[in-house]
Symmetry: D2
Subunit: 331 residues, 4 copies
């Protein structure tokens, strides 16, 4: 019973079906009929004009989105524990040609205007210091915390005031929307670009970069090809994205993952390190307690010396999650 991560979960049957249906001759790259539908499909979801590019990974999505906003001599404010800082092997440095990540603090890996100002206000407005050009936040955050719409609005207002772009890493955007019970538009706020994650949520290898400032996409199209991310059979990526949107599969899957996470918490919410607002559970558990759980067949990651991380996915066995929850309560 695996609660290691959602990043290797299985592929949803409806995604498989859509991919099989896409196995017909069509124009290569993103000239196919499915890729051509993306702008409209995501536009309908967000209720405004968007330009959408598919890519195979979240790292590529994040970095290409930022590449449209940040010059090589610029900087991006993000949380100290943001995925782009911690787990992307320096990809932002590569894609942004040496631009700098500017690390802000914040509880639960979330930023707020004060934390951002604490980073950017001390920067002298001269050529000796890297100037910020964008802010990147993660919805839900690396600790599974969801930004409320008014929190994003406040960050966006600061971004606007300082002429900074705003990017949202939405590797688990669906989980945040499912938790917030708000519209997708409210969950992303007035950002310029969103990495709309699907791989952790039932797709195989397709993520959407959603540009709310469509002119950014015109530059990023070149950058995507230049990064080797323009697949010739792009119809199979488009098919995955459209299948995720169809009938709100993306939300349905996220709700399942979130429910399993809540089941793991069960009666042991006193052990939580962070409120569970998505599909990740961070719990204080001693080494001995973790060992006990592992002997019962549960797989999960240690989180430092005295805690564990459990991640539920769209295909998590809800019974197993409940049983795990009870096992934790019984420790």
């Amino acid at each position: 019973m695996r609660f290691l991560s959602d990043n290797a979960a299985s592929v949803h049957p409806r995604v498989w079906d859509a991919m099989r249906a896409a196995d017909i001759g069509d124009t290569p790259y993103d000239g196919d009929a499915l890729s051509q539908q993306l702008d409209e499909a995501f536009g309908a979801l967000f209720g405004r004009e968007v330009a959408v590019l598919w890519v195979a990974t979240g790292t590529a999505a994040n970095c290409l989105a930022l590449a449209g906003m940040v010059p090589p001599h610029g900087g991006v404010v993000c949380h100290r524990e943001a995925h782009i800082e911690m787990d992307e092997a320096g990809a932002p440095g590569f894609y942004l040609h040496g631009a700098k990540l500017m690390l802000a603090e914040g509880e639960g890996a979330k930023l707020d205007p004060a934390a951002i100002r604490a980073v950017i206000d001390p920067i002298r407005d001269d050529v000796h210091q890297v100037q910020p050009h964008a802010i990147s936040i993660t919805q839900a955050s690396e600790y599974g915390r969801a930004y409320r719409p008014d929190e994003i609005t406040a960050i966006a207002a600061l971004a606007n005031e300082r002429s900074l772009g705003l990017h949202v890493d939405g590797a688990r955007f669906a989980n945040a929307v499912a938790f917030l019970c708000c519209t997708p538009a409210n969950a992303v706020g007035p950002a310029q670009a969103l990495s709309f994650g699907c791989v952790k949520n039932g797709a195989m290898n397709a993520e959407a970069i959603v540009f709310f400032a469509p002119e950014l996409a015109d530059v990023v199209r070149y950058r995507r090809k230049r990064a080797g991310h323009l697949q010739s059979k792009g119809r199979f990526l488009a098919a995955q994205l459209l299948a995720m949107l169809e009938g709100d599969l993306w939300l349905e899957n996220a709700r399942a993952a979130n429910a399993a996470a809540q089941a793991i918490v069960g009666a042991a919410s006193d052990r939580l390190m962070h409120p569970v607002e998505a599909n990740e559970v961070f719990m204080r558990l001693t080494p001995a307690e973790r060992e006990t759980l592992r002997q019962q067949g549960y797989e999960f990651y240690d989180w430092g010396a005295d805690a564990a991380r459990f991640v539920a996915s769209w295909d998590s066995d809800q019974d197993a999650a409940r049983t795990l929850g009870r096992a934790i309560a019984n420790l």
Copy 2:
């Protein structure tokens, strides 16, 4: 009846089967059981120790392979019409951090030692000029020409003499091997790295970078992640590659594509601009002749003002190819 390109062909049923079979929980990235089999499977194919990395596109394969050989201040000798020069949107400049492509001449988009020397011999050995660090050739070439084993050996000898790396872009390596009727090892020669193409040959979105100098892979692993090309469900890429090797599907598919290309040539070999040694056919055809063919339902690209390019793929209809061949002969 499409003979536009092989890059958007359908996915082979055995590839689909392998992908479906891979849809089980496993370690993310390249820690899964399938990815772990790649070194051995390709090692058996080439009869020597190799290290293999999967990526989604040929552009990524070529550029990551070269990234292991060429420092930012170095250069790569390639043909003036090589794919890395003409059709990868400057990806080598991106992946190699500004290193330079040094363009050589050669009939049929093939290089030989004299053409390479014509580029590198005039380079002064001083810090004012970019020094070459690698050679990249394409097997089969952009005009569908296959290097004979002794031709590669001669290029490799020059590379070795000048301490240059040797990379082979094998987007259509299978077609070359099928044509040459030699071992894969002989078709790649003593190169350090091969982009072993599968996407044009029945796979969906998986290519193999085969490192014959396995230590290069240790650096490139970091570069792959940094480029956003380390997919979390990498097992689906590994599955594609293994399916292509299984029972020599890669060769079987290439033979089918090559046969279709020969059928297109049919009795009109006097029209050929290049000998057909893979699955591409470049033919002199007037605008009127091309129009005639198109009215008969054939799709293909113009190649300049007075010629056309036909590309056959593994799934080309052999009858359609023969009929096209006859239609050309009857023009």
Copy 3:
């Protein structure tokens, strides 16, 4: 008697004087009184508003100027023998983050609209091919040829039509102006940026980047610092530039160099490979003839197997140049 190059010539006494006079306490970097005078001084020279940055080398000047015009995924059209292509160690690839030089042909290392169109017209307007963003020409060219004002106007018209930036490498701009007997403004035409060379013309280590589109300078100021080219005692560079402008020393020096070059030609103009329109002389001379001249104490570079390059500088001994000219005529 050295006619090897103008790049190691001595420093003009008035430049020395200006540098000594600058050795007073002042604001660091470019905040000093001298640096603050540059925009006005060059603005007066060119008769329009300009923004001027000093740097220590021509390579830095060229690459920083282009960095304001060309994104990392773009391209720069230049002559196949342009200094940025041949002799800057790949600096454009570094400063432009992998952007591509697109090589055009042209007699005497000069470009014209037809040659530029021959490079850019075949580029497909799609994401697979690098798109041109700027043109760079050299005034005077690498073979000492000067663009006439109408030639630059024609190139600029093409640049404007295709929305390309226009940069002029003026390492020997003074020599071109001296030859053309036109205004500096006419010798640079409607370019966006000029590398105004001084090092080869009597300065020690200061070149001016003159931005005729002053907004470009705002970005390049960051790039200059980021490249380590913002010297803290910048007043010594500004002093050199102002000394060169003072009393038209730059023109006076260039006239001296050009005159020495003409003296070298003397009666042997039939040996010339290129008309002498600046301070460089390329002459057909057999190995035996070159040996004869060297035995008489003349130093110069071989230019291929059967020619020689002589370069005169502002401090060349005019008598020595005349004597050399006679020696050549007597061969």
Copy 4:
């Protein structure tokens, strides 16, 4: 009476003399007689074989030194307030092609093994996280603190254990040596490269990169040219460096600057924020106190709300420094 910074101080007369003496025809770039003496001169100073390159700025020196040690996908551990992090406009990101600065803590802007381990030990040894490749320390530090020889030895031992390069930013190396009263060799320890600063210490615009691992210089020579830092009249930079070494002018100047700093401290050592171990004085001074001093004609920078920074230079007026010291004591 300026105590703003040492970076705009005047040029020492012996440096001027050496530069004037260098104004003779010689080989361009670093082929001149003076540049050729650098390895030997610095080798004698440090008592071992070194390879030395001149550049015009400390930023270029630091970044080129690191470029020899760190691949684009690697990282450099430095102090959170290191000059390369705070005041070089992202130059390390440019020169290292996106490599990452990894920020460590430490009193007085100094690192120690524990602080370095706190940064590098948590880095997982996998491809998702940037791996450290070098450590950079500043001697004397950004707060004017000198590393004792055993402190550097301890850092070097850690670097060696983890296979990391060690670079020393010695913008004020002379001041540290003058303070420590040790040999230059002991003050730099077993580092691979030292940025040996001269600009702040009496030179005009020449710094030395001293490679104790001479093979690194072979790569950096290409990088220097590629960065536009290979001046054609390099003899004027070499002349400055040699003049600084001649008769230990570098030490004499540093001692003068250090003495002036001590004079500023005077009787007010209780106000110090950091022990004064070089030529920088950081003192707690209220806004009113600072205003008082400024009305007496002293120029210096505020350091946050309640402190000031005074920097003495080689040419500081010792009487003025003493008077300032008394003025502070009298506040």
